[in-house]
């Protein structure tokens, strides 16, 4: 039987391409990203097509997403963070749609947020961007971020490296959290799915007991839907918090 981790393998779609020694074939991961992009664009553009004063169901859905992120950004980063709204909103919708598309059964879509390469690339982009914003807003004073106030100089020898490591750990924690959640959830679903198949194959009383793991999968799917939304929210919220640190420096 297929391994529960098989769902995470990257397979090329179409011909294998190579540029300067790097494999740049169009893969199932890339296809999932394109699908995510199309779904989000479709959801927002067609939801807002009528642009009615009294929104219909679809338009309310789009507006709820907008207001949710706008409120979160306002609460965490204040009015100064307002101009970064498009980026945060795009990030949230991209991760959310990716996680949710990965939850569709039967189609067996590829969840690209279950790859550390993808999540780390996103987190690293956020990290570099936020650091640039910090230096652009505060100039060299931004280095003061690594020096705790009121500590004697001999403690600074220990505290400054700790602060630097703490700052460098941000992209790691941001990416590992999303990646680990998606991998764990999807692996669990596959493992219990495997139980159903192997118990069913035994026949008789064993086949009847396959109901138990099946019921568990139903519950787990609900939990995974929650995790998919929650992790997209956490990813966007922490980006807002980091942005707040860069803009206001504690």
């Amino acid at each position: 039987m297929a391994s529960p981790l098989e769902q995470f393998t990257i397979k090329p779609w179409g011909p294998a391409l190579e540029i300067a020694g790097y494999d740049v074939s169009f893969t199932n991961s890339a296809a999932a990203m394109v699908a995510t992009l199309v779904v989000v664009t479709f959801f927002i553009t067609f939801g807002m097509r009528k642009n009615a004063l009294v929104p219909g169901r679809w338009q309310s859905g789009v507006e709820m997403c907008y207001e949710f992120i706008a409120k979160m950004l306002g609460d965490t980063a204040g009015p100064a963070g307002r101009k970064y709204f498009p980026f945060i909103f795009t990030l949230f919708m991209f991760v959310l749609a990716a996680n949710l598309i990965g939850m569709i059964p039967w189609l067996h879509p590829f969840t690209f947020t279950s790859h550390i390469a993808v999540t780390f690339a996103m987190a690293f982009f956020v990290f570099v961007g936020v650091t640039i914003i910090g230096f652009a807003t505060h100039g060299l004073k931004f280095f003061g971020f690594f020096v705790p106030d009121g500590a004697p100089w001999y403690l600074l020898l220990i505290l400054v490296p700790i602060e630097v490591i703490s700052y460098l750990s941000r992209p790691i924690s941001l990416s590992v959290r999303l990646f680990a959640n998606m991998v764990a959830g999807h692996t669990m679903l596959k493992v219990f799915g495997g139980f159903v198949v192997s118990l069913g194959a035994l026949g008789g009383i064993f086949a009847a007991s396959a109901f138990l793991p099946f019921a568990f999968i139903v519950a787990l799917t609900g939990l995974e839907l929650l995790v998919a939304c929650l992790q997209a929210y956490v990813f966007a919220m922490l980006t807002c918090l980091y942005l707040n640190d860069a803009l206001h420096m504690h």
């Binding site: 009121g150 703490s166 750990s169 924690s173 590992v176």
Partner: protein, 112 residues
């Protein structure tokens, strides 16, 4: 006149009755909703804190390993950086936890 009074009184009683029923229905639903949100955020907080703790340590280990290779000082820098990384992870968790707790007046002097 008395008829009118009676009518408005009856209407008022009806409205009051409706009000109490609406409030009762609201109260009955509220704890359920609040609990659902709480459970979701609890899971979010848990994953957040764990990732912060691990990330600090990971950065420490990696920085130590890399610097050791760079300066050929195996294993001393790695030992130092693991300790620093673990401290950074714990500090991260403390900070994240502090952000989650609503600020209370007597907490002000603890803020740095």
């Amino acid at each position: 006149m008395t008829d009118d009074n009676k009518k408005s009184e009856k209407m008022k009683a009806d409205l009051d009755d409706l009000n109490t029923r609406v409030n009762a229905a609201r109260e009955a639903n509220e704890p359920k909703q609040a609990r659902g949100i709480n459970e979701a955020t609890t899971y979010g907080i848990a994953t957040r804190l764990v990732a912060e703790l691990v990330a600090g340590l990971l950065v420490g280990v990696f920085a130590g390993w890399y610097l050791d290779r760079l300066f050929d000082t195996k294993p001393w820098l790695m030992i130092i950086f693991i300790i620093l990384g673990a401290s950074a992870g714990i500090i991260n968790v403390m900070r994240a936890a502090k952000q989650l707790v609503p600020k209370e007046p007597h907490d002000e002097d603890e803020e740095k």
